[in-house]
């Protein structure tokens, strides 16, 4: 029994979500190998080799893998995957894009967003926007899985000494091309990596008012998130959305401002260690999950909070 993890990276650095997948792989048991597929990504392979618990790094360094297009990388992973009992990736947009394509090439199912490992073939995952948790047994010889980071602690980034083995197989399907990307530039931490998150909902009223939250976030070293209602209303872009169909987060402190607490939002943040809710509607469902609730007008409370920090 052995697990192949697909590393999440940008050719420069190994992304944190990979470390949570390593912990899941360790719980499954057996050897843990990791694939770094990219271009000019030797540094990522070196970082992966020092992660505790990994015995081998497979490095596929080729121009065909530079932007990790699913059409190309899936062919590589499907070829390598036949030597493994489990093939897993973080349930990030990259993992979600790639892994079902791998599963179909291997003619097996995929288990998405796994939050708990019960045994080598049985796993728990949220369904219906987190309103229910399903325990599912895989009947396939190769189990293809994406791991929800909030379900597993991060493995130690140091302490391992895996061997690095070059993979020479080159797959270029020739049907897709990377054109460009526009990454949000921010000095604040990424939502999924932040230890403090300040989120706003429909109660913010408009996009400009998010400046109140940004100021508060800067004091706390926090990331800024939003509810789906705020995204749907056009206040802020979709990549700020916390919820079942957006980002799933579990920071040490989550401050929900003007968020009523729709189930789809709660599904994305209810594993946070401490939840603070500020809302003028004392009946808002967000208060039923908040450790500290403040019934107040956010336009008074947020500047006051900002001033007292």
């Amino acid at each position: 029994m052995a697990t192949l993890i697909i590393a999440e990276h940008d050719n420069q650095s190994l992304k944190g979500a990979t470390l949570n997948a390593v912990t899941a792989a360790t719980q499954i048991g057996g050897d843990v190998h990791i694939l770094v597929a990219g271009a000019g990504c030797q540094g990522v392979a070196d970082a992966a080799a020092s992660v505790a618990g990994i015995s081998k790094v497979l490095l596929a360094d080729n121009a065909a893998y530079e932007h990790q297009l699913a059409e190309n990388v899936s062919l590589l992973v499907a070829e390598l995957g036949t030597d493994y009992s489990h093939v897993i990736a973080p349930a990030t947009t990259a993992g979600k894009n790639l892994m079902p394509r791998v599963a179909a090439l291997l003619d097996v199912a995929q288990l998405s967003d796994v939050i708990r490992v019960d045994s080598e073939d049985t796993f728990a995952r949220p369904i219906y926007a987190g309103n229910a948790i399903a325990t599912v047994k895989s009947l396939d010889a190769i189990k293809v899985i994406t791991i929800r980071g909030t379900g597993f602690d991060a493995a130690a980034a140091e302490g391992g000494s895996a061997v690095i083995e070059a993979v020479t197989a080159v797959h270029d399907a020739g049907i897709s091309t990377f054109i460009g990307e526009e990454m949000a530039k921010s000095d604040r931490p990424e939502l999924t990596a932040a230890s403090v998150i300040v989120s706003g909902g429909r109660g913010m009223g408009n996009g400009e008012n998010f400046a109140l939250l940004e100021s508060l976030a800067d004091k706390l070293g926090a990331a800024v998130g939003a509810s789906r209602a705020a995204v749907d209303a056009g206040f802020v872009p979709n990549d700020m959305q916390v919820g079942q169909t957006g980002k799933i987060v579990a920071p040490d402190l989550y401050i929900a401002v003007g968020i009523s607490g729709a189930i789809q939002h709660l599904a994305g943040m209810k594993d946070s260690k401490v939840i603070v809710a500020i809302n003028k509607d004392e009946e808002a469902p967000i208060f039923s999950v908040a450790d500290y609730g403040l019934v107040a007008d956010l336009f008074d409370a947020v500047p006051e909070l900002d001033g007292k920090l």
């Binding site: 059409e71 990030t92 947009t93 990259a94 892994m99 079902p100 394509r101 599963a103 179909a104 097996v108 199912a109 995929q110 288990l111 998405s112 967003d113 369904i127 219906y128 987190g130 309103n131 229910a132 948790i133 399903a134 325990t135 599912v136 895989s138 009947l139 396939d140 399907a173 049907i175 897709s176 091309t177 054109i179 990307e181 526009e182 990454m183 949000a184 990424e190 999924t192 706390l220 995204v231 749907d232 872009p237 979709n238 990549d239 079942q244 980002k247 402190l253 189930i263 260690k273 401490v274 999950v289 908040a290 450790d291 500290y292 609730g293 403040l294 107040a296 909070l305 007292k308 920090l309």
Partner: protein
């Protein structure tokens, strides 16, 4: 160019789902069903492509029970031209759905396939990518913008931390994210007109696909409930609690 769209019949977005007392599954008896919200966005995008003169025909496909005809009729009322129901009362896993759709695509030969990125029941986010693998097509998942030019389609994708744009050689598969468009409502005249649009029913056997289980659902439980905490009366008290009790700031 023909565009193929898929729609899934799922529990209505606004209904709170409950787990059955024997923990065998969620209870879907007598609950309101509707078209999966991401599929609505897919239908809207296909109809807009037709209105823009890019698509010549919009074919909508659903897989599931007889009652999924309702969602096909909704899609027809929104502007799709023709419906196909692959009828089965069995539990169709994503891989099986992808295999069935691959057969439909073999028959229909669309230039573009638009699907929701995930259904709000099982939350799998798999079928589009699996279908792309089985048909050898490129995939533009989590799309926030779709631009067709010649035999290529440029898809802007919502990825962690921002947007990525890829160019795909058609035929291609696109899965929709929230910001792609804002779906319209069906007008009464269009709902009436939809009743006369063609709707064909097939079975998995007709398509030569065996329905196989790759997973077994052992149990379904409600999520662990989080206990409500306390209400503070002032910002001052809140700051004090966060500093001295929770010790998170």
């Amino acid at each position: 160019m023909k565009v193929l769209v898929t729609v899934k019949r799922v529990i209505d977005y606004n209904v709170k789902v409950r787990v059955k007392s024997d923990n065998s599954d969620v209870d879907l008896n007598n609950v309101k069903m509707a078209m999966n919200p991401f599929c609505e966005i897919a239908v809207e995008e296909a109809v807009r492509l037709k209105e823009a003169g890019v698509a010549s025909e919009v074919v909508v496909v659903s897989l599931g029970p007889q009652a999924a005809q309702e969602q096909l009729r909704t899609a027809l009322a929104l502007g799709a031209d023709r419906g196909i129901l692959v009828q089965s009362d069995e539990n169709l896993e994503s891989l099986t759905v992808a295999k069935l759709l691959a057969k439909v695509i073999g028959e229909e030969q669309p230039g573009l396939v638009i699907m929701g990125k995930q259904a709000i029941d099982t939350d799998n986010n798999q079928t589009g990518q699996m279908l792309a693998a089985l048909t050898g097509m490129p995939q533009g998942t989590f799309a926030s913008e779709v631009k067709v030019s010649g035999d290529k389609v440029q898809v802007t994708r919502e990825v962690d931390g921002g947007l990525q744009t890829v160019e795909l050689t058609m035929p291609a598969i696109v899965t929709t994210d929230l910001r792609l468009n804002e779906p319209r409502y069906a007008s009464l005249p269009n709902i009436m007109k939809a009743k006369r649009k063609p709707l064909e029913t097939k079975t998995p056997e007709d398509l030569g696909v065996a329905v196989k289980a790759h997973t077994q659902l052992l149990k379904v439980e409600p999520p662990a409930q989080r206990q409500a905490g306390i209400k503070v009366t002032s910002v001052e008290e809140l700051v004090d609690k966060l500093k001295n009790e929770a010790k998170v700031i």
